[in-house]
Symmetry: C2
Subunit: 151 residues, 2 copies
């Protein structure tokens, strides 16, 4: 099991390194309830000290599927597919997914996915509390004059 | 300017296709305040009907930088670097980033980044309201028996 490397940390940020996309299958976690080891999955909330999201990096071995469907209680999920292709199902709808597919699922949607390709499927899942966002696009941001140190 | 393609949509989900990671530079948006066109950036909240996050797909041309630093009012941001390498700066700290780097920044952190590589830098930014998450890891989920339609 690979560990997450901390790159840098300060009062206003935490930066970590997960390594190349092809190496995500080396991560695993022990499910807190079933106590089973889940391969190819790593949660980031603790490592990055995030307070608004639980982001996970995930992978599915070639020609394999996530062996269960699930729902959520409070959290919306967004899936971002980075490699591989296959199918995603929410309730009665089943559709093709591939690199660049983004799927937002409400808490109550019964969701599952499969990788039908010969490569590892890698994808990111973002959990956030449904209806929690108040400001979006650029409305919440403000430009600040800073001289970059990299110059 | 490329448009986001809707793959499938239902009561509990919205699925869209952004295309291959190398094509993100073809997206652009007009900044609502400055009215300037920002190349290589696309916001997803409207397309995916998300309610807890504003996710953007972003790209920086080879040997280029985002031409401004910024802060946020209510939202935490998490940056996920998928391609390219360079530097990320928060306040006084400047550190290297590359594929697999994940940086969580508090609203008040003054942030900027640069791509020093010869390839396009592609990265995802996730905005969520600071301190909004109540349940995380697997605690918010519940497994549900479903017979996948892809079999």
């Amino acid at each position: 099991m690979k560990n997450i490397e901390v790159i840098s940390e300060g009062d206003a940020y935490s930066a970590v390194d997960l390594g190349s996309l092809n190496g995500w299958l080396d991560y695993s976690l022990v499910h807190p309830i079933s106590k089973r080891e889940i391969e190819g999955k790593v949660f980031l909330k603790e490592a990055t000290k995030s307070t608004g999201t639980e982001i996970s990096f995930n992978s599915i071995a070639p020609r394999s599927e996530v062996p269960y469907f699930h729902i959520h209680r409070k959290n919306e999920e967004t899936y971002i597919i980075l490699k591989g292709c296959g199918y995603f199902q929410v309730d009665e709808d089943c559709f093709s997914i591939k690199e660049g597919s983004v799927i937002r699922v409400s808490p109550q949607g019964k969701r599952g996915l499969t990788n039908t390709s010969d490569e590892i499927m890698t994808y990111i899942v973002i959990q956030s509390k449904e209806n929690s966002l108040e400001e979006h696009t650029t409305a919440d941001g403000e430009r600040i004059p800073v001289e970059p140190k990299w110059r």
